[in-house]
């Protein structure tokens, strides 16, 4: 394709948008609404995921050993734990360390009365997992090992955490799918009107010997431009309000500050921007190419 043809096609695409302003605006608005909701759910999802991940990282399984176990056996158990795929990190806590941390946490200055370590048998491994859902498998493995007295599992269950994630994901997918269909339908309508407005011109083009590509390209460009604009608007809006919303939540519910860490606007947008753009342009492309194929039998 010649450069002049390329620019001609782009120019005609832009002219098409302005020729039927209202339909173009309606299409842009729908895509914007669609991608705004997408961006909203995406941001929420990213934050929930990040919060869940933080929570999961704190989830650990603790194993206590049989009384009088040898240091040798403890090391062997440690090696076996390291081999497990579920394990991301393992920390050995000796009896003395366990007592120290207990004192610090619960007794403070009242601990002076103890001369011996009351937690003599409390040496343990704290095991952190790659994924909380792996907890049951790991626990049953640990319980089967020789020299293990007790396995303490975490209170947080895998099911509840991944359940929230899945619910949000499904609801977003559902809503976005509906909006996608509406967007494609509206773009298709806009392009159909564009085609009927230019029917005369298209007929002349065909008589003069325009290729299918040359006749169709401006309409596809029109759809893609509408998609691009429809993607950029919600991205801009979400960018502006994202930080404000987080600030508001933090100031209103200051207790949350300790538990929740929100994902920074930049790390959300490094993914949301390209995804939204691709979706916007994709919707525009799909909507127009379907219509052009249907209505432009050239």
């Amino acid at each position: 394709m010649r450069i002049s043809t390329f620019f001609y096609t782009i120019k005609q695409g832009i002219i098409n948008i302005f020729r039927n302003k209202w339909f173009s605006l309606a299409s842009i608005a729908t895509i914007s609404a669609c991608l705004f909701l997408f961006g909203l759910f995406y941001s929420i999802l990213m934050n929930v995921q990040s919060i869940v991940k933080n929570a999961q990282e704190g989830v650990s399984v603790t194993v206590f050993f049989d009384e009088g176990i040898s240091d040798e056996r403890i090391r062997e158990i440690g090696e076996e734990i390291d081999k497990r795929p579920e394990v991301s990190k393992k920390v050995f806590v000796s009896a003395d360390e366990a007592w120290e941390s207990f004192k610090e946490e619960y007794l403070g200055e009242y601990s002076d009365g103890f001369t011996e370590n009351p937690l003599e048998n409390s040496a343990n491994y704290q095991i952190y997992m790659n994924d909380v859902s792996m907890q049951p498998a790991l626990v049953s493995f640990l319980e089967g090992l020789d020299g293990i007295r007790e396995v303490n599992r975490s209170e947080i269950t895998a099911a509840s955490l991944s359940g929230i994630n899945a619910l949000i994901a499904y609801v977003s997918i559902g809503i976005i799918a509906i909006l996608f269909a509406v967007s494609i339908f509206l773009i298709s309508n806009t392009v159909t009107i564009g085609i009927s407005v230019r029917k005369e011109e298209i007929t002349i083009m065909k008589y003069i010997g325009a290729t299918d590509f040359f006749v169709r390209a401006p309409f596809v460009i029109e759809g893609m431009l509408i998609g691009t604009i429809g993607a950029l608007i919600p991205i801009g809006i979400i960018y502006v309000i994202y930080n404000q919303v987080i600030e508001y939540i933090m100031s209103r519910f200051s207790t949350l500050q300790k538990i929740l860490t929100f994902v920074s606007v930049n790390s959300i947008f490094s993914q949301l921007l390209p995804i939204s753009l691709i979706m916007g342009i994709g919707i525009g492309f799909l909507g127009s190419i379907i219509t052009v194929r249907k209505h432009l039998r050239v």
Partner: protein, 246 residues
Amino acid sequence: MAKELRGRKKKNISGDEIITMNNVSKAYATGAPALNGVDLHIKKGEFVFIVGDSGSGKSTLIKLLLRELVPTSGEINVMGYDLIRIRHRKIPKFRRNLGIVFQDFRLLKDRNVYENVAFAQRIIQMPGKEIKRNVPSILATVGLAGKYKAKPRQLSGGEQQRVAIARALVNRPSILLADEPTGNLDPKNSWEIMKLLEQINENGTTVLVVTHNREIVNAMQKRVITMKKGVVVSDEEKGGYIDDED
């Protein structure tokens, strides 16, 4: 059947024939056939009138030559393109060798004279530099050099038809098809358009004019093909307009 037709095609196409129709029929879903066994042989550089009343099959003939329609049976060859077997994606390339002028001009109303003509060049993806050279030159040929900025509604009918002719010629077609080019014009403008078409023909372009205009046909003394009810009823060199006896 196909074999037989192919053989006939070879036999009937001589070297300087630019349009060949052999036994072409076209039937639509309803009613009598629009064309019935038409044979047409036009040589390079000819000026031919096709005359006939409405319903005679002229429009169908033009549509077949443009490959807008495919005949029900028969063979059509235009400039070496077999219009029965031509592939869909080759049609644009074929049409670039044809210039077409309509009764209602079919100009783009939102664009000026220059843009209307340049449009034809853009479609065939002519480089911008060439367009800037070719368009003024062709506008001068049709006598509209001074009006390149005017919009179609600011022009007279005759001037609009000149723009349409310029648009049809700018891509240097081998054949110019004019479908009732004077149908919407007064006698003076009709004559001017016909003189222009004659001049174009003298420069080497084959010209086919479908018309109702008796005086012009009779005065110009060109080859006249008369059609009636889908059949060629007469084909005369230096012919005249044959009146319908019905």
